[in-house]
């Protein structure tokens, strides 16, 4: 069977929560097309949701669209989400999640950054010309699980 060409595509989404469905549907379709293993698909989808929703939440004054660059090869999945015209963001200022707290003390805050840091193989934050890009890569497993 002929292998599909590496997938490289850019999409734009309005910065509203309802656009998340479209973004996640697109990822699901592309992952299925490129036979991405379920485990990689789960974690990359989760990382994309957490970054996208954080961008919406933290830059409420902006009405610029958020772009997503997706690059899939046989060995890896790379996603870059870019938020245009926003202040710099230093991920080092996000406090570490304390996973040992009791139910009463726990909140879901900061969990998104924690997940991206923990489960992606490579994460880069860059801020150039007023645009914030968050890039992450997950190396694919050879066999589906």
């Amino acid at each position: 069977m002929r292998r599909p060409e590496p997938a490289t595509q850019t999409s734009e989404f309005p910065r509203v929560l309802s656009a998340l469905s479209e973004l996640l549907d697109l990822l699901g379709e592309v992952f299925e097309q490129y036979n991405v293993d379920n485990r990689s698909a789960f974690w990359v989808t989760l990382a994309a949701e957490e970054v996208f929703t954080n961008m919406i939440r933290h830059n409420r004054s902006s009405d610029n669209r958020i772009s997503m660059d997706l690059d899939i090869t046989e060995t890896r999945i790379s996603v870059r989400l870019t938020d245009y015209g926003v202040p710099p963001f230093d991920p080092a200022t996000v406090p570490e999640v304390d996973t040992t707290l009791s139910a009463e003390q726990r909140t879901p805050g900061g969990l998104g950054v924690f997940i991206v840091r923990s489960k992606m193989d490579d994460v880069t934050y860059s801020h150039q010309n007023g645009n914030l890009s968050v890039s992450f890569t997950k190396y694919r497993k050879l066999a589906d699980d």
Binding site: L17, S18, L20, S21, L24, D25, L27, G28, E29, F31, N38, R39, A41, F42, W43, T45, L46, E49, E50, T53, V97, D98, T99, T100, L101, S102, A103, E104, R106, T107, P108, L111, G112, F114, I115, S118, K119, D145
Partner: protein, 97 residues
């Protein structure tokens, strides 16, 4: 992972059945079912394929509300979702069957 999300409250068994993709757009729908819980409640994950921090936040809020009454017990998670809960330390917050 394009499955539609559903959260169904079964009043006879007091079980909430989650299915599909529980992303941030589905919190309000999930909360409608979770609001029905008035005591110790099982949440069945067997048909759930995905959950994000927004979904976990929704379950956490309900668990806190019901804390004195027994809270939520999360059952039949798939391997990826279980790994997420363990990674984030929520396996010690919720009872997981």
């Amino acid at each position: 992972m394009t499955e539609d999300f559903a959260a169904v409250w079964d009043s006879e068994t007091t079980v909430i059945y989650l299915s599909g993709r529980f992303d941030a757009t589905q919190v309000a729908r999930a909360n409608q079912a979770l609001a029905r819980a008035e005591g110790a409640t099982d949440v069945d994950f067997s048909e759930l394929v995905y959950i994000s921090s927004a979904g976990i936040g929704s379950l956490l809020a309900t668990h806190k509300r019901l804390d004195k009454l027994g809270g939520l017990r999360l059952v039949n998670m798939n391997a990826h979702i279980r790994e997420l809960f363990e990674l984030a330390g929520f396996d010690t917050v919720f009872e997981m069957g």
